[in-house]
Amino acid sequence: MRKRRLIPQQAQKIGFAGLSLLSLITVIPIIAIVIYIFIQGTPAISWEFLTGMPSNGMKSGGLWPAIIGTFYLTVGTAIFSVPLGIAAAIYIAEYAPNNQWTRLIRIAIINLAGIPSVVYGLFGLGLFVVFLNFGTSILAASLTLSIMTLPVIISTTEEALRAVPTSFRVVSISLGATRWQTIKRVVLPQALPGILTGVILGLERAAGETAPILFTGAAFFLPQLPHSMFDATMALPYHLFVISTQVPGMPIQIQYGTVLVLLLFVLGMNIAATLIRSRARARRQW
């Protein structure tokens, strides 16, 4: 009896130790990566590095056009994907009947989420750059990134809408409000923090992507800032790719500095999303 009991408990000890070891192997590199980038990149950061133009074949000078470019692309992506994504999620969560068509929409969204980013690049090249004749431009790249971001925004928004209790809707409709009034004045305000979190996480991914903009809007090097949305642009992730693989003799400090700026961009969005979520959780009324 005693023997039979002892063995499962030892097994449990070994098993739990194994699981925590696996978790450690998973997260230690993540912490190490962030710390390492901060240590290596911080010496490169200066006012000129952030706001200067690249010079001397990008081997000196600053990142300004790449930073601005990533900003434009992120805003451009938001303009297209946020309204469309939220509206699509409202349809699925609030209007859609439970039938084959809705099932098809779901399969389409799951599919969009799974398509490799470089295939989005091909699609953007075919539709926006060539067929619609936008050229390699901020517009074409933003539209490509928008469609890639759409499934993230739709699924997180849908989740946020579904988290709002049904009783809220029932009360609003029983007071004489229409369905749209209920959504606009009751459901959306309650779901807003969840939606914002999803939107930021989606845009964070878009801001860090390289493959979809490779042939739709990213420029190797530009001597001046883009003037309109039909111009190509430099972007931080693509710039990092260029200086770490395509330019021989690139000073290592500039490379690490660029990684750090990109990391800060992404980390900032990540922290904003986490803060919004935890504040909303603390204030939740239901």
Partner: protein, 301 residues
């Protein structure tokens, strides 16, 4: 208090219509993507010699468009990534969901989310700076740009997907299952192995599928560290040799080809292959999870 105005019926209908159209837009986008891939990629089947296309030699400047090395390159690196990410990802998910105290969860989950947010170029860059030199010295190779380097990075990249999907699946296992198992005298470990994991089986398989799908579609990191040599994998030693994936081929060559050329069409054809693989992976994953819910709904009703 703000007064609720009565909305004219036409306005309500208009808003409803617009929302409905947006709802259906995803279907439209999938169709558009498929259409443009097919219209640009299918001509490759008659523009390029089929014997060349299904050969093992990829050398576009000499009109050799053999796609097998690229397909096998992708499969090889993805399997290697799976060897890294399945134990780590599923192990972490089980630990977070079943074992970890809540303060550990609060640390682990944001860290995994952070990994999901790291741009793949950042991982690729660190791969070049840290991992590749290490590989070269460790295995005493002429170059550290190898399939193994790619597999390790892709493994890391696919971990967040696996963790979040598997953790969701484990969380949906009813608490009563675990309680019943413990009440019968099983330890927590026996409960995890004997009850919780089997109950969440389809969700865990989905997690593995989606994670591997993510690895297969990843581009930048793998392009930066695998050396991009389009050669057929020949047995296990290939793991420490350069290799090239489908995604890296598209990304590195599309910029240099003329629209409408044979090479251009073949690159789109590779895009079609990637699209089909991701379609199959995701539809299988979707049916696995939705069958699961219908079964549990039946059980509960």
């Amino acid at each position: 208090m703000e007064e609720l105005h009565s909305v004219p019926a036409w306005k309500e209908t208009l808003v409803t219509r617009i929302i409905q159209i947006c709802g259906y837009s995803s279907i439209l986008f999938v169709i558009l993507i498929l259409y443009f891939l097919l219209s640009e990629g299918l001509p490759a089947l008659w523009k390029a010699d089929l014997n060349s296309l299904f050969s093992t030699r990829w050398y576009p400047t000499e009109s050799y468009f053999g796609i097998w090395p690229l397909i096998f390159g992708s499969l090889f690196v993805t399997l290697g990534a799976g060897l890294v990410s399945v134990p780590l990802g599923i192990g972490t998910a089980v630990y977070i969901s079943e074992v970890a105290p809540s303060w550990t969860k609060e640390i682990l989950k944001p860290l995994v989310e952070l990994l999901a947010g790291l741009p793949s170029v950042v991982l690729g860059f660190l791969g070049i700076q840290v991992l590749v030199p290490f590989m070269r010295r460790f295995f005493d190779l002429p170059t550290g740009l190898t399939a193994l380097s790619g597999a390790i990075l892709l493994g890391m990249i696919s971990i967040p997907t696996m963790v979040s999907v598997a953790e969701d699946a484990l969380n949906t296992v009813p608490k009563s299952y675990r309680e019943a198992s413990m009440a019968l005298g099983a330890t927590r470990w026996q409960t995890i192995w004997g009850v919780t994991l089997p109950a969440a089986k389809s969700g865990v398989i989905t997690a593995v599928l989606l994670g591997m799908g993510r690895a297969m579609g990843e581009t930048m990191a793998v392009m930066m560290v695998t050396g991009n040599a389009p050669v057929m994998p020949q047995g296990l030693q290939t793991i420490i040799l350069p290799i090239r994936t489908m995604t890296a081929t598209i990304a590195s060559e599309m910029g240099e080809v003329a629209a409408g050329s044979v090479h251009y069409s073949v690159l789109f054809l590779i895009g079609i292959i990637l699209f089909i693989i991701s379609l199959v992976v995701n539809v299988v994953a979707f049916t696995l999870t939705s069958r699961k819910t219908t079964r549990s709904e039946r059980l509960l009703s």
